[in-house]
Assembly symmetry: C2
Homo-oligomer: 411 residues x 2
Amino acid sequence: MRFNVRVTVQAAADTPRVETRQQSQLLALLRDEGPLAKVELGERLELPRARLATEIAKLFEWNLVESGGPAASRGGRRSTLVKLADDLRFLAADIGATSIGVAVTDARCEVLAHIVEDYDIRKGPVSVLERLTQLSGKVLGEVTGRVIGAGVGLPGPVSFRDGMPVAPPIMPGWDRFPVRDRLASAWGCPVTVDNDVNVMALGERHAGVARSLNELIFVKVGTGIGCGIVLGGRVYRGVAGTAGDIGHIKLDDYGPACACGEVGCLEAYFGGAALARDALTLARSGRSTFLADLLGHKGELSARDVASAASAGDFAAANLVREGGRRLGHVVASLVSFLNPGMVVIGGGVSRLGHQLLAEVRSAVYRRSLPLATGNLPIVLSELGEMAGVIGAAWSATDHAFAATGSGAVG
Amino acid sequence: MRFNVRVTVQAAADTPRVETRQQSQLLALLRDEGPLAKVELGERLELPRARLATEIAKLFEWNLVESGGPAASRGGRRSTLVKLADDLRFLAADIGATSIGVAVTDARCEVLAHIVEDYDIRKGPVSVLERLTQLSGKVLGEVTGRVIGAGVGLPGPVSFRDGMPVAPPIMPGWDRFPVRDRLASAWGCPVTVDNDVNVMALGERHAGVARSLNELIFVKVGTGIGCGIVLGGRVYRGVAGTAGDIGHIKLDDYGPACACGEVGCLEAYFGGAALARDALTLARSGRSTFLADLLGHKGELSARDVASAASAGDFAAANLVREGGRRLGHVVASLVSFLNPGMVVIGGGVSRLGHQLLAEVRSAVYRRSLPLATGNLPIVLSELGEMAGVIGAAWSATDHAFAATGSGAVG
């Protein structure tokens, strides 16, 4: 599949590889901070003028950067602004348990076009990836430019190196399916595949509430519960790539059954499916008239309905949120004691429960973790909401595209 | 205080600073691998022959390295072995809640002399540091050489940058006491101060069971319970330096009182004091005749007595170990799910409980963490035992001494 009308997909052979660490740093700076004067780029990278000129000339030659006109004068000779080429495009996909989101961004990860629709991950990889390429065709139709890379987030454990999911609990049929390679050949550009929570953490760090923080954890509460760990500004994956998998921390040996096959997991208490199950119980038992009415009306209940009920003041629903938030809070408190991060960000669909949830988590963490670890610790809601995934996926794609040869090059 | 008889303490002004990253890498290689042929050093650092010669010449000039004679021939011209100077010495102190250990090591962190004696940390910093310098005088009397650095481990949260404890729960009077600066002026050499568990983790990684592993957690169960986290081969400290503080993870809002002022902490269930308390209950209630006999004999009971009783087959004592191991195992299982490390090492005084404890922790982790995270995960006992602290403290001191100017230099 190629998009040749208004959007060009730059074939691997046509895209020059970023050759040096300096080129890679220049591109990352321009992505993270926008147009910069040549003289400032030289200062930031501590590069002598001649060397800087050579490196930038290469980037111009490959059409990765372009001139942004004269820079504001700082006295002395006027410098020229350099910016990332306006027509660079990245595809970014956020595949959730029940939805597919896909966006086209520019090289600064600004979303230019975005579609999201409900789609069940359990339809399997062939069906989901086919729908994804259809949607990407649509969204690419809304923009012009050259697509030079793509990033994808998946709702389960992913081998980042191999670009495929590995034993994902809620994705039947996806185990070791070569997602990266299939999409790379469909889209004709390099693709990075990562766990959705890692990708959301990167999104918040690049453009959201955690901007420029180097140590943070992003807790996603959605259909699944997971955690993205950013250390030293990079996603920390662990030795087998499963770091952050807190949804299946077992809270009780005799707790409710979980989709992973175990019992008593955090996710079995507070994931989307667990909330829907508990909502049904509240509705049927008559303990929540709000939810009973909704059930009569819609015929089913979801985690979102719990959120609506709780914010409408329904006591039983609010109690569900409190209970769940308390359990999540206990787990987060342990992580905070253990890792001493600079920020905890809470996101994902269930985070629509919003400030009630946040209050419970905060209360548990501030009560249970060491004062030193919580003294300057913001615990906040995601700022990007449902855009965190695509923005992070785009960031992951640019990171790959801008890396110097050897560590993952353009093409 | 200076030791001028057989041991020289090299004054700050006399010790040249390691100038370049290459010099620093050469010293670290020689520490970690022992004498190496020049030609091999060049290959390992990918340094051209002339540059290597310049860098090594500097190290010779500063008496940091010396010749180790001709290297084994690999065909072609004979190369010369280079090794760290035989007379380099480091002081390494492991201050525990109830003991002071101090060692002199060579530059490869081999212990040349070692003293350990009981001493209560609650006597306060002036008393403890005075006793430490007396003991270091003794131990230095047993060796010859030049002391060029020292490392110290303390049983509480430490600001590594400031070289002092910060709000340590079991160290009354130590808060913000300038340990590093006091010892540096007493010893006349640079000193690094770190949390004891971080230091033990480094010891196991340098010379123990975790040799050359880059991702590991070291869990210490002693008077206190803590955890050292090694990521990318370095100690991970968190944003406020409290990472790894798992002893005060709260297991129960209505649990036993803890020395930190809270209730229900892991340490309040399974630290040394908690075990001694429970042992007393078992002895007095007659549920353990073994412990009752010991109590009659000694007038008091310690965590060690629980270990003896359990290995002698005392049912009630073995049960204490099982219960505690299970609680510790639950916490470790969460950490494994979260961080996906390459190894878990269990050490500290209570780890004398040995294989019974190990069995409980393993059972909890293998049952409660994701199969992917535990598939290749060794959970093992410390290999260095009570030497882990001094060896790690020595490693920390060499790391500082061998660092190039700017990131912590010799002198």
